[in-house]
Symmetry: C2
Subunit: 334 residues, 2 copies
């Protein structure tokens, strides 16, 4: 399959021809009554509410095919990230993903191998992140001037969804997954020096940016443990904590002493780049970890670490009770 | 809301600021446990299988903001069409839509009014096409060099899904909705002459291209009536009939005499453009009508018209038993 694709561009194939190359790479559909190939896919009864979300990655906005230092983002990376960020949205509701549908907008000169790699990355993320019971069940292919990948995801719930609005004074603020690693990886990619100059840590941080690993077991576990509020950290800890603060009408006070452990593994890269690694921990998104609040008496589920507490006050995020500017990512302004 | 948006571009607003303008235009979420604003939306129990699909419209590929003759495609048109083509996919399975999630990729210079109009068009299509119980429950906004709108849709089924693969020899081939009107409208838009020169019919045909009206009651009615195969005609009657032929392993023989009624309303536009209107009827997609097959003894449900029959033979589409070249739309080649 791959050899036959060498040198071929998307514009050399029909839509059907391209689909025929992609389907086998996606793995068998699971949990479906009707898989890819009809007007729509049909998923098995969810036995309760259906969770649904959508996320898009755009060339030159969310990823760069080639960096100043020659570093290339592969189709595999983009496919992985698209799946990961969508799976993370279901995780953040306390649910488990049941299916992805994926739309690819492709410039005609896009190598067919890049698209096949993207399909492999989608399947690898589902497998690698243990999203059991989820598969790519359908999609759409079309032409455009810029690569755009949009995935929509469905999921099921074990109990009630965990929203952003349930945090109460006295609750513990906790994090699952990593913080600041994807942002450090992005800084390395944007620096211009070859990634190798940052050593093996550098490569790991770049991998965290390109192929994030949301902790998919943690979301349902948090729901079962009674989490009062939860979201995935996609735009930065402080900015996303601010969303819980606003939705819940509370102040979230983060403890820098508890957050410093996340900065340790970032120190050598931060030194080389001359930045404070806590900026990545507090402001960096895209690790797709979880931020949740738990009642005082709740046992934090495996994978969660306390990083602060919910306190009285106007809705905002503070660091050791000090006001902090909202940091993080906004798609149009900032 | 609109007045305050005059002259504003997307790049002048934050993502949150833009969302705050869009949400009120989408109408209240229906059938949701959790509406827009969290990591994902939560839909009520579907009480059975969940149907899911995704479709994308790309500027300069699927629509043009401005034509040679000065004709402008509005955000309303693009929003309408995006909703309509997604709702049509659920219709083609015999289901009813429950929710849309919509991702917009927007160049920073995009007028905020265009985006607001797009939101209005999404809501208007849902309302205008009687997609009761469906609403826009979430989305994603991001920047890009080109306007891209991707919607994913979920739906529920009353009974079993109607696939493409169930057509059997002796079954009746029938169509619901219109044929060739959207293609005629596209030809008018691409001709260069002002739309007015084509009279009131011209405006109606252009409207069919810009704001298609899939017959959303017909899909579930066909399922109830025992349709053996069904799809929506998005790439052209002959090409889409070929998909049923291939999936079912049968020949579909279309009767030109029965199809000629669809050409009548296209005659004056076809004369002005010097084309055979049957080319639009046979090859034009995007009306998003339904093509279905029914057992001999089934009563065709309201809205369906017989246009041919399923006959023995190798999988293909014939016109009065004559072979016909596949006509219609392919996104990369043709």
């Amino acid at each position: 399959m791959t050899e036959a694709s060498q040198g071929l561009a998307v514009g050399d194939l029909s839509e059907g021809g391209l689909l025929a190359r992609i389907f086998p790479l996606l793995g068998p559909p699971t949990g479906t009554v009707v898989g890819p190939g009809d007007d729509a896919a049909v998923l098995a009864d969810h036995g309760g509410p259906v969770v649904v979300s959508v996320d898009t990655l755009v060339e030159d906005h969310d990823f760069r095919l080639i960096r100043a230092n020659g570093f290339r983002t592969t189709g595999y990376d983009v496919g992985w990230k698209s799946a990961a960020q969508n799976l993370s949205d279901i995780n953040a509701m306390g649910g488990t993903a049941t299916a992805l549908v994926v739309s690819l907008t492709l410039p005609p000169q896009t190598p067919v191998e890049w698209v096949e790699d993207c399909a492999r990355g989608l399947a690898a993320a589902i497998r690698g992140l243990d999203a059991t019971g989820c598969s790519v069940v359908g999609g759409d292919l079309g032409g455009g001037s810029q690569l755009v990948i949009t995935a929509a995801v469905t999921g099921r719930l074990g109990g009630a969804a965990v929203l952003r609005s349930g945090a109460e004074v006295g609750h513990t603020v906790a994090v699952a997954g990593t913080l600041g690693r994807a942002a450090a990886g992005l800084a390395i990619l944007e620096d211009g020096r070859p990634v190798e100059e940052f050593g093996s840590t550098g490569e790991e941080l770049v991998a965290a940016q390109l192929r994030p690993c949301p902790p998919l077991a943690a979301g349902p576990a948090a729901a079962t443990a009674g989490a009062s509020a939860m979201l995935d950290i996609s735009d930065g800890l402080v900015r996303d904590a601010g969303r819980i603060a606003t939705a819940s009408g509370v102040r979230l006070d983060l403890d820098p002493a508890l957050l410093r452990r996340y900065a340790g593994p970032l120190l050598s890269a931060a030194d080389l780049l001359g930045v404070d690694p806590m900026d990545w921990v507090l402001g960096g998104g895209e690790d797709h970890g979880l931020l949740a609040t738990f009642p005082q008496d709740a046992l934090l589920p495996p994978g969660f670490t306390a990083v602060g507490s919910v306190v009285p006050g106007t809705p905002q995020v503070t660091l050791e009770s000090q006001a902090t500017a909202l940091r993080g990512w906004d798609h149009f302004a900032d």
